[in-house]
Symmetry: D2
Subunit: 366 residues, 4 copies
Amino acid sequence: MSGNTTGKLFTVTSFGESHGAAIGCIVDGCPPGMALCEADLQPDLERRRPGKSRHTTQRRETDQVRILSGVFEGVTTGTPIALMIENVDQRSKDYSNIADRFRPGHADYTYFKKYGLRDYRGGGRSSARETAMRVAAGAIAKKYLRERYGVEIRGYLAQLGPIVTEHKDWDAVEQNPFFCPDADKVAELEAYMDALRKEGNSVGARINVVATGVPPGWGEPIFDRLDADIAHAMMAINAVKGVEIGDGFASVSQKGTEHRDEMTPEGFLSNHSGGTLGGISSGQDIRVSIALKPTSSIRLPGRTVNVKGEPVEVVTTGRHDPCVGIRATPIAEAALAVVLMDHALRHRAQCGDVRTEMPDIPGSTP
Amino acid sequence: MSGNTTGKLFTVTSFGESHGAAIGCIVDGCPPGMALCEADLQPDLERRRPGKSRHTTQRRETDQVRILSGVFEGVTTGTPIALMIENVDQRSKDYSNIADRFRPGHADYTYFKKYGLRDYRGGGRSSARETAMRVAAGAIAKKYLRERYGVEIRGYLAQLGPIVTEHKDWDAVEQNPFFCPDADKVAELEAYMDALRKEGNSVGARINVVATGVPPGWGEPIFDRLDADIAHAMMAINAVKGVEIGDGFASVSQKGTEHRDEMTPEGFLSNHSGGTLGGISSGQDIRVSIALKPTSSIRLPGRTVNVKGEPVEVVTTGRHDPCVGIRATPIAEAALAVVLMDHALRHRAQCGDVRTEMPDIPGSTP
Amino acid sequence: MSGNTTGKLFTVTSFGESHGAAIGCIVDGCPPGMALCEADLQPDLERRRPGKSRHTTQRRETDQVRILSGVFEGVTTGTPIALMIENVDQRSKDYSNIADRFRPGHADYTYFKKYGLRDYRGGGRSSARETAMRVAAGAIAKKYLRERYGVEIRGYLAQLGPIVTEHKDWDAVEQNPFFCPDADKVAELEAYMDALRKEGNSVGARINVVATGVPPGWGEPIFDRLDADIAHAMMAINAVKGVEIGDGFASVSQKGTEHRDEMTPEGFLSNHSGGTLGGISSGQDIRVSIALKPTSSIRLPGRTVNVKGEPVEVVTTGRHDPCVGIRATPIAEAALAVVLMDHALRHRAQCGDVRTEMPDIPGSTP
Amino acid sequence: MSGNTTGKLFTVTSFGESHGAAIGCIVDGCPPGMALCEADLQPDLERRRPGKSRHTTQRRETDQVRILSGVFEGVTTGTPIALMIENVDQRSKDYSNIADRFRPGHADYTYFKKYGLRDYRGGGRSSARETAMRVAAGAIAKKYLRERYGVEIRGYLAQLGPIVTEHKDWDAVEQNPFFCPDADKVAELEAYMDALRKEGNSVGARINVVATGVPPGWGEPIFDRLDADIAHAMMAINAVKGVEIGDGFASVSQKGTEHRDEMTPEGFLSNHSGGTLGGISSGQDIRVSIALKPTSSIRLPGRTVNVKGEPVEVVTTGRHDPCVGIRATPIAEAALAVVLMDHALRHRAQCGDVRTEMPDIPGSTP
């Protein structure tokens, strides 16, 4: 398989290039009988949409999604749900100056070496534009998980360049263009981004995502652990270079007595594990953190080679996000949603009949 | 699928419990015509084997692997290669005291909730014993990658609890029981581990793995990026809580001019990306780093619940690794090998005919 | 997976309902660098298109396919190729009389029982309209197989109800609305179909498909034999109830001396096997034959039940094929093409390096 | 994937050669909590075992299966169930005379061309010996389907060469070495086989398999229809050249009024469809029929080529079944069981919540 499908039971197969006619996906495996319409998908697309503030790319896409199949009289039928967004704001000529050379740090070179050719317009298939479809597919998963299991999935910006934010308030997250959970930091973020844009440079970011309400028992050892599948989905997001579950790299210097989350009938006493034990959900909050690298498409000149292998300089004009992390929160939420949805169905297939007399240990200490 | 198979074209399907009759796996998709015998697999198994030093579990397993199929007259035939190791040193009664209760931080609770029952002897299927088969399967992949493509895969201990090691020398790695790349740090590690063992506690670790010689073009966008599949394989190793590719979380505070690896006809000028761009190998070294949490099976008492849901105390006797990171280096190497092997074959399937006139940019600046 | 994707390396994921907005598919895994445009797909769609003669359904669909992605400057890029056909001639009200009852012999009842609801308009997802996308995807596979390997895939009507045709001439096949390979039988077929239509009944058919030029070595034992995958693809065509490879059911009464195809350096002396031995292609013609049942949507009244479980009578009006076999030839060709394409890539992945000194035995005696 | 795994949720991965150390498989996805031991698997293995009568190969294998994992205290744990049978009666030297040449009609040639080498001892991986593992895996599926859903799967010999049997009695099937359902035909079969053996020739056969008690709703349109997956599994059995569901090829000359199975609240009035409509089970008996070709390994000399491409004669000595159909009944049953089991789990995953007020139409008219 050429890597454009994710999931085993709830699958998303994606298509489309940044400057092609349309982008889209087929969502397969959604249970029948769920109310669904475009309005269910549009809010998360809106959260990801470019051009909403001066801090993201100025490409103006309305990102209106169409449901082409799989819904009848407002309800999912159990057949594939095809989603499509037409590309409306392409300026392909912006890219003519990179048609013959490779941006350092970009997929330009590797696509060319893999396929022998590449669609250089806006990054073609390697563009983060493709993530719009993941967000749309994720919205279906989110809705199902919420309605059927009471699972909620939310994310926020935990760090942007040198600025670390503190998670004070979920409500704050949606009230600024950064998904920053601390209203007091927004001005600092704006100032930093303004300076960065002026400089012509880009910067990295860290996003945290949390799922609450996941019942114990989801996840398939050995290879398809819930956390392994989450890591797969997160690392598959453009620009992601690191993934942590729970305490992540902090675990390296922890001792067993510190890391293990003790249990009482009233609940877990801590959540260092991030909601998975042995690759299976424990009922605690699933806590995920990801690192996004700085965008490689920047105005500052860099050394590179062209398609003849000659040394040249490259400068990227066109429209780009100076920090892809700013719009990454809904993408990371969607990635987590699709993984959880897949494992919800996988759990039902093999272990749907399992009942234990012992009650679940109440969920999370955040 | 219940998660016991990994890979799309080069697949490993694993079976076995810690205290069952045997552990084993089926390796499918290996090209025909490669010389292969047990002696090719045994060295890596020996590197992972427990009981070699006082710093790992004292379970005495010889870990002698048998090739049951897929090899004829010393050569792979292209048919499935079945591998098996019989368990010889089981002390199941050591575990009777945890049969009715769940170790905090362990898969005990989640397996019970998922399956409604569990094999409590030595962790059953959740035991790290299962990783022996990944090491054996990985040795096949390593051999093929080396002989066919010149790829080398090596790892080392980068940190153990508070002790950070420096990568001075590949040769040093194999000359101490920690896979420590700095001979000067070995005494410090030994002292730390002795104290830890006396204390009855455990500690986390960080392992780095590097693949050299990977040609550009391996990896499948969008979802099955090379780094996404690596993250999947690494997070599927017992106790792993974090994965980084290249600069990983350090990318969060980097700027674009700092992170992007500039290119010249003579080679890349840096390797922040860790060898992948857009999910496809660039020809640079693949650099991976993982965090392993401290073992949850420790002698120090902890609070937990039993199968009736009542509050109880748990103390783990039995034989356990106080730092699973010590034996994790060959496991992480094997995980990387299997992913690379799979993508080597996937690349051949779709892009085997691709030729570009432009020469590859020479590989890595470490 | 919910069954809307076929193939392992060359995959087709299909969506769409008979009376939805559009039907479409995503073709993934096509090698890069092949010239491709809509005009390459349209001829086979035209061969399958309804309403071309009075002997098929009178639904008037232009079946104009759009390529939405995966092609850049007229050449495949190696990324997913999305195809879409908008539905233009829907008369959903024709189906209001079957909204509350199940046509006997139709998927109406089983879809309802599986999903708890169904899109009754034109059969919804169970409609043969969906096969248009298989034909479009198959045209991509056919083109690649022809250009890269010299493989040709052709089919014809071998029997319609009581009328058996003889394969006299490939050219004749395309010169009548039945894909009949014997021009002398066309008048008889027309008279039969006219009488059948007047009667309001339907009838079954047999289609034969042949692939020439397939090299030896394609097919994966044990489960994914080339013939097993062919059987899977053929039985997945609407109305198919039987599949034969080579002599098929005639083999039951054959002796070994009769069935085995003897070999000489100049070629095979017969082709009873139909081009596969042990599930792997032999280099002979792949010969496949399929049985299609008579359409269940007929004007003659039948006994059935309604959604309340009450006994009722059903009469199907709407527009239907009285013999689905008439338009099935391009569908069966496409199914075979997709399977062969998938196995061509699978072969390359594992056995692309294999070379034998012994020359191939020349191909088929038909 | 190299074709040694079947199923999506209930998977069987097989390994082993005819004259290797052992054959085996890993069964993954079995729900936890089912009582299971070797004695559950042995009866079907015994039914398939060679050397029980003079009419099958005289190879003496005890076919004692060992469960190596996945069962704890007599109950399935939900983890992979590994099964192994050691090969005990190998006479590899019998095959030295075919080491350099290819039996016509056998996989010898195609394996050689695919892999560049082959294990010629007893057919290596292409041997029907491998089917023992399918029978063992199928016994697990049969047990689960029976206990959880009340599904029964049974088969019988419907034709052997020219001798057609009539299905008079399920009890008769197990009381003769042919799985013949008509006690009166057994003498005729014995005489025919004795003459055939004396002649040194082989012959084909037809096997019918029936599953009763399958609830409506199993099967996944579009590509993974229940009947398509059945066709895949059946055609993957050694020597199978044709598969029919329900009336199969007889449908070709049927009219719609004849073929459609009318429905009443009391039940279906016929079962021409063979229990699937639109690829989904209807609740009627699943009826499958397969054609097996005559064995290619016969004593009568035939023309062939050797590994140098020279014309030679071949005579097969060694021990072979003169009619593979004789032992094929339990294999076909197992194949059907594995497919049904997989679809039972797939159904649960997506449609486990579906309830309809309308009662199921009672099942089969045979």
